[in-house]
């Protein structure tokens, strides 16, 4: 048994099998046992991972001459040895069948929408038009942070949020509002550090003002249910609700890189 396991061919198969099980099931089901959120790996990523591992295995078995010869031996035997005729025939049948099956799966028509590459934070335009007023986004700061009392702005933002946003983004700001389950992609979860802490306030302003339909193509505007709030809110209300979002979640907005050079 020990000698079987040390054979490169068996080792290669074992590594591939373990890697597959790990990527296919391990990533999805082991972390939840430890209380970490996870989900199944999409099949494209699974394929990419398996290819990488396969290349690694190939390099491993061919890195030294002895190992490479030992690895090739069973393959060569199946291909030429008269005693292996049955295996050879089985291979000759299964390989084309497998290829045919894969081809069939790929060309079979399906009513499912094609997968699309949705960029969550697409590049914002350099300027936007807000109710006839042109705003330059690069270097734009939240004007309310420099005037008046911050608490007042937070309260104003709270009012705006609970009148307009709560239905989707939820009263815990975690994107689990009453309507949330109906949307795919789901509403943004502001408590996640992948959302607003990665963004400048001007970016958030753009997303609120222009909504889903204002996304560029890579953001798949047809998928987003976010309304364009410029039709319903004033500029000050949007800035106030942004202050509320950051205040309530405890995140700080991304700041502009103010080192030398500077934005145009």
């Amino acid at each position: 048994m020990k000698s079987r396991l040390s054979h490169p061919f068996v080792q290669a198969l074992l590594i591939l099998a373990v890697a597959y099980l790990l990527f296919r099931f391990g990533i999805a089901y082991i972390p939840p046992l430890l209380g970490v959120k996870s989900a199944p790996v999409p099949h494209t990523v699974l394929l990419q991972y398996m290819l990488t591992v396969a290349v690694g295995v190939l390099l491993y078995v061919s890195a030294t001459e002895d190992r490479w010869r030992a690895f090739k031996a069973p393959i060569q035997r199946v291909l030429v040895d008269p005693s292996q005729r049955l295996y050879r025939l089985a291979l000759l049948v299964t390989v084309p069948l497998l290829a045919g099956f894969i081809t069939y799966r790929q060309v079979r028509p399906s009513v499912e929408a094609p997968p699309n590459l949705r960029s969550i934070h697409p590049a914002p335009p350099s300027t936007i038009t807000f109710r006839g007023k042109t705003m330059t986004l690069a270097g734009l700061e939240n004007p309310l942070r420099k005037e008046g009392n911050l608490r007042d702005h937070v309260e104003e933002g709270r009012r705006v949020y609970y009148q307009n946003c709560v239905a989707c983004h939820g009263d815990q700001l975690n994107g689990k509002g009453h309507f949330a389950h109906g949307f795919n992609p789901p509403p943004a979860d502001f408590t996640d550090n992948g959302t607003i802490p990665q963004l400048t306030e001007s970016f958030v302003f753009w997303r609120i003002a222009k909504g889903g339909r204002g996304l560029p193509k890579e953001g798949t505007p047809w998928n987003s249910a976010m309304p364009a709030w410029e039709d319903f809110l004033t500029e000050r209300e949007i800035w106030a609700v942004i202050i509320f979002l950051y205040d309530q979640t405890g995140w700080t907005p991304r700041t502009w890189d103010t080192a030398e050079g500077g934005a145009r």
Binding site: V41, T52, G56, S62, A63, I120, P125, S126, L137, R264
Partner: protein, 602 residues
Amino acid sequence: MTPESRVSFPRLAGFGGLVLLMLGAVAVPAFAQQAAAARDYGNFPLVGGRGAIWIAAEVHLMFAAFVLGVPLFAVTVEAIGIFGTDKRYDKLAKEFTRLLLIAYSATAIWGAILVFFLSTLYPKFWTYMSTIFHVSMWVYVGLFFFESFTLYLYYYGWESLKDGIRKKIHLGLGVLLNLWGTAVMFIADSWLSYMMSPPPQVSTDTAPETIRLWSAMANATWMPINIHRLIANVVFGGSIVGAYAAYRFLAARTDEERAHYDWMGYVGNFIAISSLLILPFAGYWLGREIYQYDQGMGITMMGGFMSWLWIIQAFLIGVLFLAGNYYLWVGMARIPGAERFTPYTRWILGVLVLGVLVWSTPHTMIASRAEQAAMGGSHHPLLGFLGVMSAKNTAVNLMILSTFLSYLLYRRANKRPSVSWARAATRVQAALFAISAAIVIFFGVYGYFVTAIVRIGFSVYQVLSVIVTIVTVLVLDVLMLRGAESRGAIRWGQMPARSQYALLVLAVTFTWLMGLMGFARSGIRQHWHVWNVMRDTSPWAATPALGYASKMISVCVLIFLALIAIVFWLGGLVEKSTYAPPAAAGAERAPERELAIAGGAD
């Protein structure tokens, strides 16, 4: 493959096209005068105006990178030959230079094609650029003239400037050749970096006559691009030379030839990989300048429609790392005493594969609706953490460390250190590796808990710790192995063929990667000829998706490789082989010792 039969057609077509172009260039100005206002863009059959420019510029750039990169290390190799004792290096330098001579005219031909295409297909843009840059264009031509004649003198004077002080003069010629070449590249870079980052005071309404030449040249991305290209040229030249050696190795008939080209391939690969290790830092500088120049352009590059390009880049660089290490591991079979290190290679391989897995994990995953619903969006709740820069920087720094470790094992394989403190020094080296890896991982993990601005600063610490480790370990190693006794000579030429295919894959991947990164750099301007200054109003203004771009890149790479195959074949006609039997004593140790000095720069 018989090169003459395979490539004669494209060659003929190329020359035919050139003749037609020259005729066209004569004919065009005559009617262009009346039609100038009406015709901003020309058209080109089959691939369109942009496609024609794309191919001309990319193939020109590949040849240019080759003829700028090869002299850099031809001179270095010649210097090693002069100051060391090994005659093989001088022969090697001359063989490089001979390849250069033919590649040089190919560069010039493609440069001419590019200029003619620009002036006939993009006349308005060409007028704009030449209005600003005409003086630098004249200087460029002059420098090119000097460069050519220095090259001729360098190559044809090789034998007559062979002895004593004359050899030093010859070396000086080589240095001069590189100075001309670098100056030429800097000037050309100023044009294209102006297109990316014109000075802030230039706007759509600025008349080109009023823009001062120097302010246009010294723009934000000029220097980063210069440095990035300088290093990349060396990487590229080294890998092409490695491929040349691999080809000659596979075609070799005698053991002597095989030994020579095995060694040449090793040198080429060494130069390519060791320069590759510093390339990411130059690239990082360029990226940072782009971000500082215009945040929007930076986001377009990293997060916008180009974000997937970086996954492909990670995939290609993963191939480079794996193939480069693999070549070293397989090569250890020809070094006596290397057996004691082979068990370690599997762990290095493990780290590299993990690094590739992490580095190429996309942030936004391609998923069907059902998979997206399960993930709660297009970000995976767990793997999403691997998709951000913190994880990727950590992975790439660990991969650099692993590659360096592979090289260190290779270097030490047939040595037995004779100094008393060797054991202690080895422990220090191991500790340095461990500390550096710990620093890289610490900042990688800590990066998730801080704001973006702080996190960007972390990558500097990671890079610094890796550089410090590499330099210190290498210095220690050089001191420690001084006067070390040999466990046996390297058996040059006793290399399985698959290692040579790894060299070929390296060269093809480098070339393709260069095309891809060229697309990225040029594509982030999107629908602007000159960013936010001159708009592209041609039918080709939209920036294509990666699929189309990859086909164009493949076409460019194939044209380049086919032409370079002719160059190699012609080089073989001039002189069958430059193989010279090595001096029996001391030769087997020489390459490693000298190259350690060459490698000390990183």
